[in-house]
Symmetry: C2
Subunit: 184 residues, 2 copies
């Protein structure tokens, strides 16, 4: 099992928006969902994706997507616009749960059974660490993790880096999935 957690500073916490970009950059959350869970013509059953949305009007909202149970999905933005509108209206979709869990509460729970890694450009090189079983990776959105949130996460985890390039959040996830795939 591998898990990815994205902290979305401004992701809208209701379904009253016209498109993912204007919904507090839920387009980035969509890209991260695809990078986490999708292969060509298949879903990664061993991945759990989390987004904690901290935008108006009702933060925080914890979106949890389990690859094992997810179906009726494609990768495209139209599909995910519909799915995210649905679950943000508190309707059901297979494999997706929405709750009021905060980022801090989620990290505390995860840290009980998993090694937490916080993605930071100035962290320890990913190629120089032994990634634990069932790792949990924490990422920020396009602005990065707020300082307080990062400090909190680092009480439970360690900083890791993919190198000197500042990759997009979804690219970080794609690269992490690749690195983990190659370790098997």
């Amino acid at each position: 099992m591998r898990e990815f957690v994205i902290f979305s500073r401004i992701g809208k916490t209701n379904a009253h928006w016209k498109n993912l970009h204007d919904a507090g950059r839920l387009d980035i959350v969509h890209e991260c969902i695809v990078a986490s869970l999708f292969l060509s013509h298949g879903i990664r059953k061993n991945v759990v994706f989390h987004a904690v949305l901290n935008g108006p009007p009702n933060p925080p909202l914890h979106l949890k997507i389990c690859g094992e149970k997810l179906h009726n999905v494609r990768t495209d933005q139209q599909t995910w616009t519909q799915i995210l509108k649905k679950v943000l209206s508190r309707k059901q979709h297979p494999g997706i749960n929405v709750s009021k869990t905060s980022f801090e509460a989620l990290i505390r729970i995860k840290a009980q059974n998993s090694q937490i890694y916080v993605l930071e450009e100035n962290g320890k090189d990913i190629n120089q660490i032994q990634i634990a079983e069932n790792p949990v990776f924490i990422l920020g959105d396009h602005v990065g993790l707020p300082k307080k949130v990062e400090t909190f996460a680092l009480r439970f985890g360690q900083k890791v880096s993919l190198g000197k390039k500042p990759y997009l959040a979804a690219a970080c996830i794609t690269i992490l999935n690749y690195i983990l795939d190659r370790k098997k």
Copy 2:
């Protein structure tokens, strides 16, 4: 310099469409553009991206995007819906050229000065080859390269593989960029 070429079987060759997905999966071309050219808050100046669109009504169309000259862009789908509509109407955008060059003609030109690599799951492991300077990587869309096109490309290049997982086209590009970044 590094170049990526995506062969799009059905990508529309005019601007008469409502959204990227329904335009012969130009959403995949968009994802590949982002994976090729974008870092967080920056553009890769050393990347050239090519898409050869083979959909109706006027195939082939060669779209060439130079990171060095590209500006006025963001990563999101709205931005690229507008840009692709613009250039497919034969209007100008900085860093983007559209021509009637076919895939075969493009490969012949590229092979004169560059090593061509064709992404295939059953190719030689990327970690076991020495990637040449100024590499050109050929990828298919969500259906993969048509057999004839692949056979043609392999007259000029060699098969390489990212491993056993069938990655999405854009994910392949993200991973290739990462591998090349780490080699420097």
